[in-house]
């Protein structure tokens, strides 16, 4: 199962990076969304996917999933939501001010080199 997940994470990262490198700001935002999904699955896979029960102490259960990656991912999910929210609003303001979502036009002018 880890093997499939590893390939899946690779696909998620490939798609995310491809979108981030595109010229459209909207695609960049979509790309960051995919990137965080990839990262979450990556943490989970690194820790191992074994375990037959959730990490909750119930009498008699000893083989449960690794709790540590789960705790880390829980934090990461919430933070990535915050990032997405800020990115979206920033894009909204940027478009309101500059009237474009073309990344090539959104660059510093030569005076500031």
């Amino acid at each position: 199962m880890e093997f499939i997940l590893a390939i899946l994470i690779g696909i998620l990262f490939t798609a995310a990076v491809y979108l981030i490198l595109s010229r459209s700001l909207l695609k960049v935002i979509l790309g960051t969304g995919l990137l965080s999904h990839g990262a979450h699955l990556l943490i989970l896979t690194m820790g191992g996917l074994g375990g037959s029960a959730p990490p909750v102490l119930i009498d008699g259960v000893t083989d449960f999933a690794d709790p540590l990656p789960q705790a880390l991912i829980l934090t990461a999910i919430v933070i990535s939501f915050g990032v997405t929210a800020v990115m979206l609003v920033m894009a909204y303001r940027m478009y309101a001010v500059h009237q474009t979502d073309n990344m090539n036009e959104l660059r510093g002018n030569d005076e500031h080199d």
Binding site: F3, L21, M46, G50, L68, G82, A91, L106, R107
Partner: protein, 802 residues
């Protein structure tokens, strides 16, 4: 007492200077500053008896012991000589500056701070035994020189001169650092003394010649040797006390010091002898020849300084021959170098001060407007005449003695039979003699054109009169030294010169008194020096009288071929060229920079995985493949494909939601119910947020992305994907240390009294993480609110360059 700390005395005093300047208005700040060099001079003079017997003193303060870097003050004949010059001339210059720098008009606080920093730096250069701290102080002299040249920073020429001197001397300093590093690799020490002790082994090392050339680059740039001298004339924009101190008596002699200090290491190499002697003589000739072209008093002195530094340099080069030939005359050359160095500091310091006085009292330094000042400024004239005649090499002034020793050393070069000197050696006395003729000519030009001849009072901006006595004290002291030394050369020789010579050639003499040199003014009619001097006076006078006839010849040299022009073109070219180069890769587009980062990251990590054999695949530890898992994987891949290839925004958002939900399903499958719940909630809110935001954003567009760009993006993103897959697999397959999870599992009941391990980790074990996470979310919320609500009025872009 640890006297190494005294090096820092000036810079510590510099901290007080601004307060003194602010609080005590009635007294010139210079009077307080004067204490520093005076005290230091007195203290260091007490080392004279010790050093005279060939002894030395060491004091050390550790700085970075693990790297072997320490502040070491090593006082032997050579460093003591320079130390006394720095503090002695320093005292006179500060005294002079009290009368030269106006208390009301000038920013004395900054001036003396810079001057004191320079003093510390210079003391550090000549006393440091550790090459790394020597380099540190060396660069500090460049920086303080930069600040002092640019002291009148509102003038364009000051800023230009300051930058030019810094560019050239810092370049040289870097080269010198290279030499020090090579030396430390070869000798495995930073200590100059230890390197000198290892000198015989160093000669055969492969980097020896490279280190030699790099070191000489440092010395030549600092001591204004050809072709690096061009910064010195431009440095004359500094206030005159600075020119007298830094640019004639001390800082420019740091290069001389460096050559002298490293002679025991490099002196036996033929490259060293040829370069030091050759470049020295070329500089001597070049400087003296172009001095007559100048019309600014300080520019004449600048070129004369260049030329005299060349003279001392060539003597040091000739002195190094004594490693190969036992003839006493070569040891003689080193003696002459040190002797002339002292004489030059005395007469040139005085001449600069006189130039400053003339500038101060008449309002101009243009020699074409000056003339006949002798009757108006008799004392200044006397001092200038003494200085100039000493510079020209006439008795009864100290310059005569060292000049004659110089001429005899150059004549003696003919008799040296190694390194092709027997064929080319004849050139040395000829060039030296011609340069001396020009030296005589410009010395006369300087003093006679200013003080003799008809008065042109109507051309002067100010009514000239003699300078105040305080201003004249320093040059008068220097002039009396010039005369005094002529009559007691051997006393000076015994106390100062011989210990210094011994420091330069430690292997040749057992102690300073073993140096068998006795300076005489009169060698009889058979001496070559006498006839050469007579010839110099005759031809020099002839040239001086015919200056109006041949001075126009200088105009034959086109401006475009001058070294200055070369420097300017190089500066302009490098500025434009480098700008163009950096434009090539700094496009200002975010895509370019991200491409660099992603490509670099993936390539290095993949390469590292295989170079270090870190990629491990342990199939046995994998969990079993389940039906639900595989199905969900297919859903996920399909959704990702939709996100990438969707033509409409709505489709893309829904597909992104699909990715999120299938990730949540994975959490369910892999026994992570808390994650699944959170993910479901967050994903739902996210999709809503996307829909809301995209309502205000334009439709999806590729913005004319080219095929080629897409290909590059695809390659880079594929390599990132591969990298992540490999990292995921190998990090799962190997664990360097056991996971902390087991600790959580074991103690969750006993320590935290909880059952849900994930929740306990979040709120208990790693409670602070969660707290900060909440803080981050709050900040993000404020940012979102701010960006939506705040409306900054659109202003015209303000750019400070416009």
């Amino acid at each position: 007492m640890e006297f190494v700390l005294l090096i820092f005395l000036p810079v510590i005093f510099a901290i007080l200077v601004p307060f003194v300047y602010k609080k005590i208005k009635g007294i010139h700040t210079g009077w307080f500053v004067l204490l520093v060099p005076l005290v230091l001079f007195g203290y260091y003079a007490s080392f004279l008896p010790l050093v005279m017997d060939g002894g030395h003193a060491i004091s050390e303060m550790k700085w970075i012991p693990s790297l072997g870097i320490a502040f070491t003050s090593y006082i032997d004949g050579l460093s003591l000589l320079f130390t006394l010059l720095i503090t002695g001339i320093g005292s006179l210059v500060v005294l002079y500056s009290v009368f030269y720098m106006d208390r009301e008009k000038e920013d004395l606080g900054s001036f003396y701070v810079y001057l004191l920093i320079f003093m510390t730096a210079m003391l550090g250069v000549v006393q440091s035994d550790n090459t790394m701290t020597l380099y540190l102080f060396w660069e500090l002299t460049s920086i303080s020189s930069f600040l002092l040249i640019g002291f009148w920073y509102t003038k364009d020429k000051s800023r230009f001169g300051a930058l030019k001197s810094m560019m050239i001397t810092v370049f040289g300093g870097l080269m010198m650092l290279g030499a020090f590093i090579l030396l430390s690799i070869m000798g495995e020490t930073f200590s100059v003394r230890e390197l000198i002790a290892e000198a015989p082994e160093l000669v055969s090392q492969p980097y020896f010649t490279l280190a030699l050339v790099l070191l000489l680059l440092g010395a030549f740039t600092k001591s204004a040797q050809f072709p690096f001298y061009i910064w010195l004339p431009d440095a004359m924009e500094a206030p005159t006390p600075v020119s007298a101190y830094l640019h004639s008596a001390t800082m420019v002699k740091a290069g001389i010091y460096l050559v002298a200090r490293f002679t025991p290491i490099f002196g036996s190499a033929s490259t060293w002898i040829w370069l030091v002697t050759g470049i020295g003589l070329l500089t001597l000739f070049w400087g003296s020849f172009f001095a007559v072209k100048q019309t600014d008093l300080k520019a004449i002195l600048a070129f004369s300084t260049v030329s005299q530094l060349g003279l001392i340099m060539s003597l040091l080069g000739a002195g190094a021959i004594s490693y190969h030939a036992t003839a006493a005359v070569f040891g003689f050359a080193t003696y002459a170098a040190i002797f002339h160095l002292i004489n030059h500091a005395a007469f040139k310091g005085g001449l600069f001060m006189i130039a400053g006085i003339i500038d101060h009292e008449t309002g101009t330094r243009d020699i074409r407007k000056l003339g006949g000042l002798m009757s108006v400024m008799p004392i200044s004239f006397t001092v200038a005449a003494i200085g100039s005649l000493s510079m020209a090499g006439l008795p009864p002034f100290s310059g005569f003695l060292s000049k004659e020793m110089f001429l005899e050393s150059m004549v003696a070069l003919r008799h040296f039979e190694l390194f092709n000197f027997d064929t080319w050696g004849i050139l040395f006395p000829i060039v030296a003699w011609i340069a001396s003729v020009f030296t005589f000519t410009y010395s006369m030009y300087f003093v006679l054109k200013t003080f003799i001849g008809q008065k042109k009072l109507d051309q002067l901006p100010k009514q000239p009169h003699e300078a105040p006595i305080g201003m004249l004290i320093s040059p008068m002291i220097l002039a009396s030294i010039v005369i005094l030394v002529f009559f007691i050369p051997n006393v000076v020789g015994k106390w100062i010169i011989k210990p210094a010579v011994m420091a330069i050639q430690p292997t040749l003499y057992a102690n300073p008194s073993a140096i068998d040199i006795h300076v005489k003014a009169w060698h009889g009619f058979g001496a070559a020096g006498l006839w050469l001097t007579i010839g110099i006076v005759a031809f020099g006078t002839l040239l001086y009288l015919t200056i109006p006839k041949w001075q126009p010849l200088y105009r034959m040299q086109p401006d475009s071929l001058s070294l200055n022009n070369g420097y300017d073109a190089m500066m302009r070219g490098s500025e434009k060229g480098l700008n163009r180069v950096s434009r090539l890769y700094m496009t200002g587009k975010i895509r370019t920079y991200l491409l660099y980062m992603f490509a670099f990251m993936s390539v290095t990590i993949i390469a590292l995985l295989f170079i270090k054999d870190a990629f491990v695949l342990d199939m046995n530890s994998f969990a079993a493949i389940t039906l639900y898992g595989s199905l969900n994987a297919i859903v996920l891949i399909l959704s990702v494909g939709f996100v990438v290839f969707a033509k409409s925004r709505l489709a893309a958002i829904i597909a992104l939601g699909g990715v999120g939900y299938s990730v949540a399903l994975f959490f369910v499958i892999f026994k992570a119910p808390d994650l699944a719940l959170t993910q479901l909630v967050i994903e739902t809110v996210s999709v809503a947020l996307f829909l809301l935001a995209f309502k205000h954003l334009p439709a999806l567009s590729t913005h004319g992305e080219t095929k080629r760009n897409k290909m590059v993006n695809l390659i880079v993103s594929l390599s990132v994907g591969v990298m992540v897959t490999l990292v995921a697999l190998s990090s799962h397959s190997q664990k360097m240390i056991p996971s902390i999870s087991q600790y959580y599992k074991d103690t969750v009941k006993t320590e935290a009294a909880g059952g849900n391990i994930v929740n306990v980790i979040l709120v208990d074990y790693r409670g602070f993480d969660t707290l900060f996470e909440i803080a981050v979310l709050a900040i993000a919320g404020i940012a979102v609110l701010g960006m939506i609500r705040l409306r900054v009025s659109r202003k015209e872009p303000t750019d400070e360059n416009k």
